[in-house]
Symmetry: C2
Subunit: 198 residues, 2 copies
Amino acid sequence: MKDKGLLVVISGPAGAGKGTIVTELVKNENVEVSISATTRSPRGQEKDGVEYHFLSREQFQEMIENDGFLEYAQYCGNCYGSPKKQAVEWMEQGKDVILEIEVQGCEKIKKQNPDCISIFIMPPSLEVLEHRLRKRATDSEESILNRLARAREEIRLAENYDYIVVNGPIEECVYDVKSILNAEKLKAKSFDINTILK
Amino acid sequence: MKDKGLLVVISGPAGAGKGTIVTELVKNENVEVSISATTRSPRGQEKDGVEYHFLSREQFQEMIENDGFLEYAQYCGNCYGSPKKQAVEWMEQGKDVILEIEVQGCEKIKKQNPDCISIFIMPPSLEVLEHRLRKRATDSEESILNRLARAREEIRLAENYDYIVVNGPIEECVYDVKSILNAEKLKAKSFDINTILK
């Protein structure tokens, strides 16, 4: 029997580099990233089922009632959630499923899925984070300061995660996350000794 | 400040391939292998300080009294122990220290060093183990059967270890152990968030 895949929560401040890491991880055919559902409208080039599953408020509410989310939350007046069905199917196929979610979402996931693995992507320093946010140059000064203040709050909660990966050079960081996923699968508790002693 | 190195216990049946793995691991300058002390006499080409530290019974007893061992045991009338001083020095230098020891020794180490990481090297099957033992061709039939019986006992205790690595292709196995050591260093509990929030 194929081992079940892992449920992997990845969080970290905006600008810490989560997106780049996840893009590298899903190049492995045994790793999938969960696409969130949201009630907000698509922006620019966003396509349904690619960046998000775009749902109406009624559809979202129905999914909540049918226990269709691993976690969901409201943010700036819109709802966001991690659909359960696809994630469970992937895990049963032995694939690791990555949820890139907020710090608050992680706590909810952990309560209902105590076996999930949580990884916090930490910027090397607040100065580096600020530099990265400014380099994007898409945000106003106010928005950058807001994001930095929020990052401090998120970093304070990092100790609730299982692992903390400092995002320095991207290859190292990707190696670190891959190490974590590999090591988690080698834990003795997930090994059936009877397969050897049979 | 440099992080402290890990204390890593590696066990597994004779013929499971521990030696080959340890040889590969110590090619990394930040990994050291602890050399056991013993009261038995050197055999063949064995040199003091290479295969073992060869001690008299009096020297061994003195080390026990001075709390000089991480663990020690008697086996076939001789004493074997893992010297503490060198291991502690290496760890303080940030080096990981590998102890290749018996299953019984692992339990003793864990009691006194709850932070140690324990890895059991598992043969892919008892048939493969038997084949490897026979290929060595240095042991009598009786000795091979004894080793196999003992292997079954050891495998039963593997679930007390933190991790189980099945020894298939050596590169995979070495990658697995390296993943474990890397992931252990990324655990959130060993990260000081104040270094970021300072």
